[in-house]
C-alpha cells in the first residue's frame, strides 16, 4: 500500500473540513465505545482475562519459532502447505504462484489487513486476476477505489448516501438499476452481486485472526459469514497471516476471542467464527481441495527483544482507535498507511520508517485512553514516546522544534535565570492583555490563539509573591 503518512497534517486538515467524515467518526464513540463498556461491565473477570491474554501472547512471542514450526507440522499432517515469506514481495509471489497453479481468473477475499499491507489487490489485478472483496465494508471501498479507514469497519468514513450513490453507479452492469436507499436493501443488493462472485471464484483468500499450533488451524471471525463462503466454496483456500498470530492451543484462541469481539465491536462474540484445518477430506461434503497458509514476517521478528516487542501482542481489535480522540477527529486515512489510530502511531514508524511516519507518534496528547482499553495491555503511549525520542536523537524532529526545546531547557535548568525570564514574561503578557484578562492573538503563539484565547497571567509569578511574603513575615 502506498504510504502517505508524511502528509498527516494535510490529511487531518481535509478530514476536519469534511462534514461527512466528521459525522461518521463522531459515531464511533456512541457505537463501539458504549457497546464495549457495556460488555466489559457484564464480565467481572474481564481484567483477569486481559492478564491471561497478555501471558499467552508473551509466551508465544518468546517461543515463536517453536510454535511456528509446530504449526507447520500440523498443517502438513492435515494435507495443507505452509509458505514462509520474509517480505511482502515474497508473499505476493507465493500467492500469485498458487493462483496460477489453480488457473485462477477471479479470487474472492475475506477481510484481511495483512493483504492490505501487501497491496495484494493491485498486484493481482496487474497480473490479470480479479480480486473481489466480500466483506461489505471492504467491498464498498474497493468499488470506490479507496482504502480502509478503520481495521474493523473499513468503510466507516462513508455515509449511507455515498454508498447508495456508489452502488447505483457500479451495479448498473448487473442490471440493478433502481437506486436503493434503505440500508437493508443496500446490503441485499451487495449480497446478490457477491453471490455470483463466490460461485465463480477459483481461489479464496482470507486473513487469519489466529493460527493454532496444536491443530494447524487458521481462524477467522466475521459478522457477515463472508469468510466462510470465501474459504469453503473455491477449490483453493489461501490463508495469509503474519507470524505473531500464532497461539498454542484451541483453549488459548478461545480466551483471546472472548476479549476480541468485546473490545472491537462490543459483541460477546463475533457472529461467525470459522476454523480451517487442512483441505477437504475424503468424506467431507464441501471445502477446498487445496489449503495454503502464507506465513509473513515482514519485519515482525525484528521487534522481538526490543522495547517495542509488546506490539506483537496486538489482536487488531480496533479498540484503541475507537477510544482515541485524535482518531475521532482526523479519521483513518490521515494516518497514511494500513493501521490508523494509536496502534498505527506505534506500529507504522517501524513498518514504513520513522522519517515517513514521524507525525503519527507526535500527534497524541498521551491521554492514555488507548492503553486503558487495549485488551492485551500494549503500552501504546510509551511506544509513541520511544519514537519521539528516536526522532529527536536522529534529528528527524524539525530544527525549530529541537532548538525551541533546547532553549526552554537551558532556562529550566537555571532557576535564577528562569525566574527572571518568567517574571518578565508574566508581566509582559499581563500588560498586553490589559483589562480583558486574555489575549485574542499573539504572533508567537499562533498555534494556540488560532483556536482559543490565551488566559493572561495574573501578574507577578507565584515565586516572586511567595518570596516577598516570606520577607514580609520575617
Amino acid at each position: 500500500m502506498q504510504v502517505t503518512s508524511r502528509h498527516f497534517k494535510d490529511g487531518a486538515h481535509e478530514a476536519l473540513q469534511d462534514k461527512d467524515i466528521q459525522t461518521a467518526f463522531s459515531k464511533v464513540k456512541t457505537g463501539f465505545s458504549v457497546a464495549r463498556a457495556a460488555r466489559v461491565e457484564e464480565l467481572p473477570e474481564f481484567e483477569d482475562l486481559r492478564d491471561t491474554a497478555v501471558d499467552i501472547k508473551n509466551h508465544v512471542i518468546e517461543n515463536l519459532d517453536y510454535y511456528l514450526e509446530y504449526f507447520e507440522d500440523q498443517v502438513l499432517l492435515q494435507g495443507g502447505k505452509v509458505h514462509w515469506c520474509n517480505s511482502y514481495a515474497e508473499a505476493r509471489d507465493a500467492v500469485l504462484k498458487i493462483c496460477r497453479d489453480a488457473d485462477a481468473k477471479t479470487v474472492t477475499k475475506g477481510k484481511s489487513m495483512i493483504t492490505e499491507e501487501m497491496a495484494l489487490n493491485d498486484f493481482l489485478s496487474e497480473n490479470n486476476i480479479e480480486p473481489i472483496e466480500t466483506d461489505l465494508g471492504e467491498y464498498i471501498i474497493q468499488l470506490a477505489h479507496e482504502y480502509p479507514s478503520h481495521i474493523i469497519a473499513p468503510a466507516l468514513h462513508k455515509t449511507k448516501e455515498q454508498v447508495s450513490d456508489l452502488f447505483h453507479v457500479k451495479h448498473q452492469e448487473y442490471g440493478l438499476t433502481e437506486r436503493q436507499t434503505d440500508p437493508q436493501a443496500l446490503v441485499n443488493e451487495a449480497r446478490s452481486v457477491l453471490r455470483e462472485k463466490y460461485v465463480a471464484a477459483d481461489v479464496g483468500i482470507t486473513g487469519a485472526n489466529f493460527l493454532i499450533a496444536e491443530t494447524g488451524s487458521t481462524v477467522i471471525v466475521t459478522n457477515e459469514g463472508n469468510g466462510d463462503l470465501t474459504q469453503s466454496l473455491p477449490k483453493t483456500h489461501i490463508a495469509v497471516a503474519s507470524i505473531e498470530k500464532i497461539v498454542p492451543t484451541l483453549e488459548d484462541a478461545s480466551t483471546l476471542m472472548r476479549l476480541l469481539a468485546r473490545s472491537a465491536t462490543g459483541q460477546e462474540m463475533s457472529v461467525y467464527t470459522t476454523f480451517s484445518t487442512g483441505p477437504k477430506r475424503k468424506d467431507d461434503i464441501d471445502g477446498p481441495a487445496n489449503f495454503h497458509v502464507i506465513l509473513l514476517d515482514s519485519g515482525r521478528s525484528e521487534l522481538i527483544g526490543t522495547d517495542k516487542q509488546d506490539l506483537l501482542r496486538c489482536l487488531k481489535c480496533g479498540a484503541c482507535m475507537n477510544h482515541c480522540p485524535v482518531y475521532q477527529a482526523v479519521g483513518g486515512h490521515s494516518y497514511g498507511w494500513v493501521y490508523p489510530g494509536p496502534i498505527g502511531a506505534a506500529l507504522n514508524p517501524q513498518m514504513v520508517g520513522l522519517e515517513e511516519a514521524r507525525h503519527l507518534p507526535n500527534a497524541s496528547t498521551f491521554c492514555g485512553r488507548c492503553e486503558e482499553v487495549c485488551p492485551v495491555r500494549i503500552p501504546l503511549p510509551k511506544i509513541m514516546r520511544h519514537w519521539r525520542e528516536k526522532s529527536f536523537e536522529t534529528q528527524v524532529t524539525p530544527k525549530p522544534e529541537r532548538w525551541g526545546i533546547g532553549l526552554w531547557a537551558f532556562f529550566a535548568k537555571r532557576p535564577a535565570l528562569y525566574r527572571l525570564v518568567t517574571r518578565c514574561g508574566a508581566m509582559a503578557l499581563r500588560l498586553l492583555a490589559g483589562k480583558k484578562g486574555r489575549l485574542k492573538s499573539l504572533p508567537m503563539m499562533k498555534g494556540w490563539t488560532s483556536v482559543r484565547d490565551l488566559p493572561a497571567p495574573q501578574g507577578k509569578t507565584f515565586m516572586d509573591q511567595w518570596k516577598q511574603q516570606k520577607r514580609g513575615n520575617s
Binding site: R369, F392, A412, K413, K446, S450, R452, D453, A456, F462
Partner: protein
Amino acid sequence: MSETPESKTVALFVTCLVDINRPSVAFAAIKLLEQAGCTIVVPDTQTCCGQPAYNSGDKKSTKAIAAAVIEAFKGFQYVVAPSGSCAGMISKHYPELFADDPTMLVAAEELAGRTYELVAFLSDVLNHQPAATALDASLTYHDSCSSLREMKVRDQPRALLASVDGLEIREAEDREACCGFGGTFCIKYSEISGSMVDKKVDNIAATKADILAAGDLGCLMNIAGRLQRRDEDMKVLHVAEVLAGMTDVPGLGEGER
C-alpha cells in the same frame, strides 16, 4: 525543618504554569494544606517538572531537569503538586527515565513514593474535609487525563466538592475524553487540538453550570480559552480555588469586573 508529631511537612511543587499564569492556585493549595495542619515549604530551586522536553523526545534535557527536581525535593516528607500531570510526571515517569541508572533510579523511586496530586493527597493521605465553605452555584468538573489515568484521581475531587454547601455538581457528557491540551500538542497540532477542545466545550457548555473546575492548569487554560473564544459564559477555576473558598478571584481569562 522541625516537625511536631501531628504536623506534616509538605513541599509544594508549584508547577510552571501555576507559577507563571495563576499564582492564586498555589495560594489556594497552601491554604488547604495549612487548614489540614501541614507545614508548607516551597523549595526555590524548582522550575518545571520537564514535561515539555519529555514529550518532545528530548530525553537528555528531561533527565537533567528531573535530576534537579529530585535534588530540590530531597528529604521532604511529602511532595504535593496542584496538578495530576506534573505529579504523574514525577511519580510515574521519573523512575522510567532512570531505568538504566541504578543510583538515580533509587532516588527517583523514593521521590515517586512520596509525591501526590493535591486533591488525592487531601483525601487519601490526610483524610481531610476542607473547612465548611459555602457556594451557591453549579459546577462541572473536568477529569484531566493524567489525574484520571496516571494518578487515579476521580472520586476524590467529587467527594470534596460535594462537601461545599450549596454547590451543585453537574457531570458533563463524555467527561473522560481528553480536552486536547497535551502540552506542546495543542500548538503543534492546533487544528486537531481545536476540534478536540471544541467537543469538550460543547459537552461542558451543555451542563449550563456556572463554574468549570479541574485539577490541572493546562486543561483549564485550554478549555477557558476556547469557552471565551466562543463567548460562552462560564467561570473557570482550579479545583483548589473552589475548595479553598477563593471563588471571588477572576476566573481564568476573565477581565476586570
